[in-house]
């Protein structure tokens, strides 16, 4: 067991003849056992990054290692659920799970998917084509977890689920992570969807890494400052600042004490992410657990 789930070095991927850059110069490390939120606006490269990690795409620049190996070599130990939850419409749920058993003979654990199917009150004899979007998601997740993956890559997993199913499936995922130390990477452009469940953040914007690191450390590295307009924020790194009348509101990365006469607050995940998305020119921040330990 390696202690790194994903390690990317100057990772890039371009598409088509015009070399449209979907991902560019991405370097980060995701330690094993984390539940990582992968977020960013539409078109930020979330799906491309997940497909690269799943070994479905070849990087055009740089490299990506998964569980200490190439994604292709780690294929047995990772699971991936694509955004559109592809399944064979002509198969039944039971047939779909048998497919999982056939294709993962060394790892398949039938109890896990069966429990997930039963929790959703689904009939194993039902055909996939007769299922609703949320039910398909449940089957796709059951198939992914039946493989007992060490790394679970989920592209917009909760998008078409109702709140109850969302809570149930998130709880199932978290319980699996608690039982087996599964590393989970979940993409979503709805930040609120991920709050509470994730302890690691990877924020992409324009194909580049904007923020990466343990969620608590990233939040701790930022402060919301409310002061008077005209105040200087030197020498702190300013992510975003806005002036409303006499009031200055800013999200900064403090380089030292922030001084008197200002209100300082800890930002929420949503505030942190939104501030970075509104200010594309703000410098990226990549925190590694190693660096944290060294500091």
């Amino acid at each position: 067991m390696t202690d790194t789930a994903i390690e990317a070095a100057a990772l890039g991927r371009s598409f088509g003849r015009r070399r449209r850059q979907a991902l560019e110069g991405c370097s980060f490390r995701l330690p094993a056992g984390r539940v990582c939120a992968l977020t960013g606006p539409n078109g930020a490269g979330k799906s491309t990054l997940l497909a690269l990690a799943a070994g479905l795409l070849r990087p055009t620049e740089g490299s990506i290692a998964v569980l200490g190996r190439t994604p292709a070599a780690a294929r047995e130990r990772l699971a991936y659920v694509a955004q559109n939850k592809p399944l064979h419409p002509q198969l039944t749920i039971a047939g779909t799970l048998r497919l999982g058993r056939d294709l993962n003979p060394r790892r398949w654990d039938a109890r896990v998917p069966e429990r997930i199917i039963a929790e959703g009150d689904l009939d194993p004899g039902a055909r996939i084509r007769s299922l609703s979007g949320g039910q398909r998601t449940r089957v796709a997740l059951a198939l992914a977890l039946g493989k007992r993956p060490e790394l679970l890559l989920l592209d917009e997993p909760m998008a078409d689920l109702d709140p109850l199913a969302r809570h149930q499936l998130m709880a199932t995922l978290m319980a699996d992570a608690a039982d087996h130390g599964t590393t989970v990477v979940m993409s979503s452009h709805v930040v609120a969807e991920l709050e509470g469940s994730c302890d690691h953040l990877l924020l992409l914007g324009g194909g580049r890494v904007r923020l990466a690191g343990p969620l608590d450390d990233l939040l701790a590295a930022h402060t919301l400052v409310t002061g008077r307009s005209g105040d200087t924020l030197e020498p702190h790194t300013v992510v975003e600042s806005r002036t409303t009348g006499r009031q200055l509101t800013a999200l900064v990365r403090p380089a030292g004490p922030l001084g008197e006469g200002r209100r300082t607050d800890r930002p929420s995940l949503e505030e942190l992410v939104l501030a970075h998305l509104r200010s594309p020119e703000a410098p990226p921040l990549v925190l590694d657990t190693e660096q944290e330990a060294a500091a």
Partner: protein
């Protein structure tokens, strides 16, 4: 005994261990495989019927009309209903086999690969414990085995029918020549080779276009073109034989005629002059004889093997291209 059994079951387990890819594939494409089974059964059934009761009935009708006697009446130029049924049965089998490459290409480009690329189920397979290359290998191998087995059985049965005792069915089958496209293809490995090329081209189209319908269309187009080109090319695939006759009679060589014409005194080959029943017209035109360039029936096997070889080479190229394409896109090692 028990040790042997244990060993065998261990071997079964071992072979199952890396991949249950074959059962998975059979499950996903079950309806297509069942359809193929049905198609083969129809072909074999039609041929078996034609060889047995169909032939007996046709022969009885034939004899009843007195066609087996010397100097048969004009009725013998038209087939009776029993002969017609016999011919229909054979035509169904050979027609389906002729159609098979097109059906195969459409399915391989559409359902087998194109649709899986389009809706993402291919990626679903690749993120199980199955590499894209193994997936592709299974997608080619399993249908190939089934197609070869079925086509081979149909070919064997048709050959049996074709070369059955001279005295009984020769006249019945004599409506066709060995080199007629349908007869030629179904009587040898060419039918199988065409079908394998269709499978490979379909798979390549599916991987290339990643959409079911366009891949289906392109694959069908490619296979129709391939079969057409091969049909056109067929006479040139083996050195021909020439036959020459004197001015009195035109040659009527038994086989696939490639070229025929008239000969002059200098031995030059010229087109047959247009003489409308004028007896001395050929001589006036300086014609000393006639020639024909053709393939005798002994060229059947060389022609079969050459054409099969070309079709299989096309299939091999398409397979190599498909693997390369897949590797370039996913960058996955084996």
């Amino acid at each position: 005994m028990s040790a042997v059994t244990a060993g065998a079951s261990a071997a079964v387990k071992e072979s199952r261990a890396p991949h249950g890819l074959v059962p998975a594939l059979l499950r996903v494409h079950r309806s297509a495989f069942l359809f193929w089974l049905m198609l083969t059964a129809v072909c074999l059934g039609a041929l078996l019927w034609a060889a047995g009761p169909g032939a007996d009935a046709a022969l009885a009708e034939y004899r009843a009309l007195g066609c087996d006697r010397p100097g048969p009446g004009p009725d013998c130029h038209f087939s009776g209903s029993a002969v017609g049924r016999h011919q229909l049965a054979v035509a169904i089998a050979s027609g389906l086999v002729t159609l098979l490459p097109v059906l195969t290409a459409a399915w391989a480009g559409g359902a087998l690969t194109g649709r899986e690329m389009e809706n993402g189920t291919a990626e679903l397979a690749w993120t199980q414990s199955v590499s894209p290359a193994r997936w592709l290998a299974a997608k080619l191998a399993v249908p190939a085995v089934l197609l070869v087995a079925g086509t081979f059985a149909v070919t064997l049965l048709h050959r049996m029918l074709w070369s059955s005792p001279k005295n009984s069915l020769d006249r019945l089958m004599g409506w066709y020549e060995w080199h007629d496209d349908r007869v030629f293809e179904i009587n040898g490995p060419v039918a199988t080779a065409h079908t394998l090329a269709a499978l490979a081209l379909g798979v390549l189209a599916g991987l290339l276009l990643r959409r079911a319908l366009p891949a289906l269309g392109v694959a069908v187009l490619a296979v129709v073109s391939l079969v057409w080109v091969l049909d056109e090319l067929r006479p040139r695939l083996w050195p021909t034989t020439a036959t020459v006759t004197s001015a009195g009679s035109t040659p009527n060589p038994p086989g696939l005629v490639v070229e025929e014409g008239a000969l002059t005194a200098t031995g030059a080959r010229v087109p047959v002059p247009e003489c409308w029943g004028e007896l001395d017209c050929p001589a006036e035109s300086g014609i000393t004889g006639y020639y024909a360039v053709y393939h005798p029936s002994s060229h059947f096997w060389p022609l079969q093997l050459m054409e099969s070889g070309i079709a299989l080479a096309v299939a091999a190229l398409a397979v190599v291209a498909a693997f390369r394409l897949l590797r370039r896109r996913t960058g996955a090692a084996v």
